[in-house]
């Protein structure tokens, strides 16, 4: 079979590979290794400080290109960062040329299209499917206005990005979960070619509507003719559908926001309030892959149904290191704010709690105090109990970094970090700084 390498195909392949390289965070890894060996060769320490530019943030480029998740998350956060600007080019192209991005760049669309080519005989069956995409888009926008954008994790760019979590070592069922989105899209595209792009993908429809709206402003006639072409009943106009879905989205978003987010999971440092986090996080997996300690995992449901695949921290056997803020550099939607190392070290992600019944000191009278020994912030208060030194946590100092939990030698961990709304605590001088 001869593949005719057109300009469009070449661009799509290059963009797909580039997106994969960014998602896998290959560039920062290579740069870090190079800096490290260079430093060691010159008799240096081989340590790269957290403010060295290694290109870690490149990982957020691809998901941030989407104006769909960009606008919805910005509305929910009620703030605009520079990352939001990354969605502008696609936004403008959509106004001028409709689905231009879909046809020329979208890596998920490319994969879905290739999968669809396996069954060319049914390629137009999708037309009879309902237009879920419009509903999803308007629900997302409506709910975003109430701070809880629904379905923005359906953005194809973050689904593509999330797929690369399979390279997270060690590979477990949990690390494979985020890859499921792209696999489902491929499966759907084989079953019903084009259904993803034209009936579900909210980014696709937002571009289509933007283009239409622009043309609509110039000529009402053109819009009407396209609607007739696509077999829509003209009486249920875009405006009314938009209005109904926005209201519906607002109501469901508000309800979802109040129902979920009661239980606090331990989120990466700098995470926005829990009642928005599960919505604003698009499950792109960037933070999971950026963490050098590999303590960020996609949630399998502990933080509720709304929190599935959102990042949560697990502290055994590692902890959130006081020299690292890598996860805060890669979030495309601002679910995790971009913060300095010092600001990160002042955030309490949770609070450690001593379970006295399991504690070697409290229960067995052993001289242990590993928790105090390990705590970078000296948040452990030493209590004398029958001449044995025993630990207690000072919640006004504890950051919930989990080093005590990771180091606790008791059979059942006697000190465990519990989730709490994140807050900033007074600065503590750290050893090594």
């Amino acid at each position: 079979m001869i593949v005719h390498l057109t300009m469009r195909l070449t661009i799509r392949i290059i963009f797909l590979l580039l997106a994969a390289v960014f998602a896998l965070q290959v560039i920062p890894r290579v740069v870090e290794r190079k800096l490290e060996s260079e430093s060691l060769r010159n008799g240096g320490t081989g340590i790269i400080s957290s403010d060295t530019v290694t290109g870690r943030s490149l990982a957020l480029l691809l998901p941030a290109l989407s104006p769909f998740s960009g606008i919805a998350s910005a509305a929910a956060r009620q703030s605009l960062g520079w990352v939001f600007l990354l969605g502008l080019p696609v936004f403008i192209m959509a106004i001028l040329k409709g689905r231009w991005f879909c046809f020329h760049l979208c890596p998920t669309g490319f994969i879905a299209e290739l999968a669809g080519k396996l069954r060319p005989e049914v390629k137009s069956r999708f037309v009879s499917m309902p237009r879920f995409n419009e509903l999803l888009l308007f629900l997302a926008l409506g709910s975003a206005l109430f701070g809880y954008p629904l379905f923005i994790w359906l953005d194809p760019l973050c689904i593509f990005n999330g797929f690369f979590s399979v390279w997270h070592t060690p590979v477990t069922m949990v690390s494979l979960l985020p890859a499921i989105g792209l696999i489902l899209i491929v499966a759907l595209s084989i079953y019903r070619p084009n259904a993803w792009c034209y009936r579900i993908c909210p980014l696709g429809i937002s571009q289509e509507l933007l283009g239409k709206a622009w043309r609509h402003i110039h000529s009402r006639k053109e819009l009407a003719s396209t609607q007739v072409e696509e077999g829509h009943k003209p009486e249920l106009g875009l405006g009314r559908r938009l209005f109904i879905s926005l209201i519906a989205g607002g109501v469901t978003g508000l309800a979802a926001r109040n129902i979920v987010g009661k239980q606090y999971s331990i989120r990466p440092p700098g995470a926005i309030a829990e009642d928005k986090f599960t919505a604003v996080c698009i499950r792109c997996g960037n933070c999971v892959r950026a963490c050098p300690k590999k303590i960020i995992f996609p949630d399998t449901g502990q933080s509720g149904i709304a929190g599935i695949l959102t990042p949560v921290l697990r502290f055994d056997p590692e902890y959130c290191a006081e020299w690292c803020n890598e996860c805060t550099k890669v979030c495309p939607t601002g679910a995790i704010s971009r913060i300095s190392l010092q600001a990160k070290n002042n955030i309490a992600m949770g609070t450690a709690v001593v379970a006295k019944q399991h504690c070697l000191a409290w229960e067995n009278g052993q001289s242990c105090m590993v928790c105090d020994e390990y705590c970078p912030y000296h948040a452990i208060k030493v209590i004398k109990n029958d001449e044995v030194l025993c630990p207690e946590v000072d919640p006004e100092i504890c950051r919930g970094c989990g080093f005590c939990q990771a180091g606790c030698p008791a059979e059942t961990k006697a000190i465990v970090v519990q989730g709490k709304p994140q807050r900033t605590l007074p600065h503590v001088n750290l050893q090594g700084t």
């Binding site: 081989g46 030493v382 008791a410 090594g432």
Partner: protein, 299 residues
């Protein structure tokens, strides 16, 4: 009345004088079995190491030509040299250089850090110091670096995975740093071996002090050089804590005696540190300073 004759007098004189000349010899013999530690005071670590080692008979007495030397500094924490959680890098590099000069085939520095090893090795400056001096420092991160070892004379720690380079070496030198410790009051020389075993969690669960002493029944350094140039008085073992500068290096072949003397720098009775008492009672060395020769040297 019978007076002593000349013969008897000569005999008696001979006996008395023999006894008199032998007696000091006997007491000298007792002295040489006594532990000796050399406490070197100064500001220049290079000079201090040279002065201490000269008294001990030079590096050649410990380093066998063509054999491996293993140094065990304490590099467990992310800490700057002036913060006193890790052994001073200058001290380590001086010893690496001296061992190389004395004919060591290679000088290895294995360490199992508590903090991230790269950050600890880096911020302490020890990795850089060892590299420059021509030694090889590495982190005990993999199972292949350890060997299951029996401790027949131990009370609790009957078996442990110990770093192979600590077990199989021509010359093992312990280079701890003296500092306060939340669990054991003080971290000294004997406790430093926790950084050479795979599972230190076991020690915490099963009478830490006894395990520290047990470990010393098998891991026997030929020499201990205690870094007491700056000592962390509070918030140890990690810091940052209150610091003091005794400007001392303590040299000794008896690990318990070195620890006992170091404890006094913190105004602690040596036997108030449980593992010193246990080690002394188990006959691993002398923790009773009244039976230790403390030789003070200015460098």
């Amino acid at each position: 009345m019978k007076s002593i004759d000349r013969r008897q007098f000569l005999k008696a004189t001979a006996v008395i004088s023999t006894v008199a000349t032998v007696l000091p010899d006997v007491s000298n013999a007792a002295d040489s079995s006594k532990a000796v530690i050399y406490v070197v005071h100064g500001r220049d670590i290079t000079k201090m190491v040279a002065a201490g080692m000269e008294k001990l008979g030079g590096w050649a007495k410990f380093v066998k030509k063509g054999q491996k030397v293993t140094l065990k500094p304490n590099v467990a924490w992310i800490s700057k040299p002036e913060q006193g959680a890790d052994t001073d890098p200058v001290l380590v590099s001086e010893c690496v250089k001296a061992c190389k000069t004395a004919g060591a085939s290679e000088v290895v520095v294995p360490e199992k850090s508590v903090n991230d090893w790269k950050q600890s090795f880096g911020s302490s400056g020890v990795l850089e110091a060892v590299n420059r001096a021509g030694g090889r420092m590495y982190a005990l991160t993999e199972d292949k670096y350890f060997r299951k070892t029996d401790f027949p004379d131990a009370k609790i720690l009957k078996q442990a995975d110990v770093a192979i380079d600590v077990l199989d070496t021509g010359c093992l030198v312990n280079m701890p740093i003296a500092k306060s410790h939340s669990g054991t009051t003080l971290t000294l020389g004997m406790k430093n071996w926790m950084g050479s075993v795979k599972d230190r969690q076991f020690w915490h669960r099963n009478k830490l002090h006894q395990c520290i002493a047990d470990c010393c029944t098998v891991i026997k350094p030929v020499l201990t050089i205690m870094d007491a140039t700056r000592i962390m008085l509070t918030k140890g073992p990690r810091g940052p804590g209150e610091m003091e500068r005794p400007d001392l290096l303590i040299f000794g072949t008896d690990p318990v005696a070195v620890d006992a003397y170091s404890a006094t720098l913190f105004k602690k009775e040596p036997f108030s540190i449980e593992y010193i008492k246990i080690a002394h009672d188990m006959g691993l060395g002398c923790g009773d300073l009244s039976h230790v020769d403390v030789v003070k040297i200015e460098a």
